[in-house]
Amino acid sequence: MIAVLVVVVVVLLSQGLLKSLNYFETVDQALGQRASLGTKVIRLEGVVEPGTISRTNAGASFTLTGTRSNHVFVSAQGSPPQLFQANIPVVVVGHFVSSTSLDFVGTQIMVKHTSNYIAAHPNRVKAPNGTTR
């Protein structure tokens, strides 16, 4: 009985089950395999680039950045979650417009916040360069 279980687990592992448990593709990964992705619906993760957010009646459009200065231009429908803002990592459900395009059509935005908890200091002044003091 236990031997059967072990065999099943090993088979599943070797079949790449563990890889498929990833919830999203990063911008870098998605661009790397864009040709094969085509217009398949995926979950795309990246950081919202500051200054690129424009909110529309239907939703929002913004640029997602990967780690190697890769960019994807997202236009997503539906109102974004309340934490949606510049510089925050998000996961967008949607698809590329074509297998060569950098345009991504989203149907849902999820905010993937970090595990850092730091007190907000509303009275601090924000300097023009973005730092607070």
Binding site: I2, L5, L18, L21, N22, Y23, F24, T26, E45, P80, P81, Q82, L83, F84, I88, V91, Q108, I109, M110, V111, K112, H113, T114, S115, N116, Y117, I118, A119, A120, H121
Partner: protein
Amino acid sequence: MTRMLQRLLGPVTLASLALTAWLGLWVTPPDRVQGDLARLVYVHPALAWVALYLSFGTATIASVLYLWPRTRSVTADRVAVSAMEVSLVFILLTLATGSIWGRPTWGVWWAWDARLTSTAILGVFALAYLALRRANDDPTQRARRGAVFAILTAINVPIIHFSVLWWKTLHQGASVLTSTGQLNVHGSMLWTMLIGFVGFTLLFFWLLRERYRLEVKRDRLVASTVDEALAQRRREGV
């Protein structure tokens, strides 16, 4: 001394949970990114800690002790079933508070990522364990099968713990038990979180003790009803 500690368990639990609520809701500052939503950090991780490690862990260790011939005892079996029931309650609370937290921050009530899915599976395992025990009237067989099942399903606990490292998940990584040893919670928020951990840990022991006592009473009741039935049959001259 022990008796006094036992008596204090309930009041100290309530006091530390009340302290957590007061610190969490009024004293600690809002978070830079999440604002007031971050206050769930004083509750949700502590519930998960009790659900996965304390209760499921206790149930697993008690199951091992039961299966090991030298340490086999009714006590171990009672502890196992009591801890598993407490675990189920805390798993459900973890999923509920996580969902309530996820809706405003992530934007969704639920995501089928590795952390959430594996936790839900653990909940199903806990339910299955309790169902398995109900399906069997023979105390020895029930205890043995339950123990084997608990130990097999405990493999899922480290999977849940490392899921946020092994796979890309929507769920955030660790804040306190990080792989680098770095603390990601700051100042009074950290203290409040740790007091919350103490409070919910005490709550686990309190619930476990009460549930254990219930199990003892239930066993006695079953034994006495069997004795009574036998005595009645004798009186009837069967």
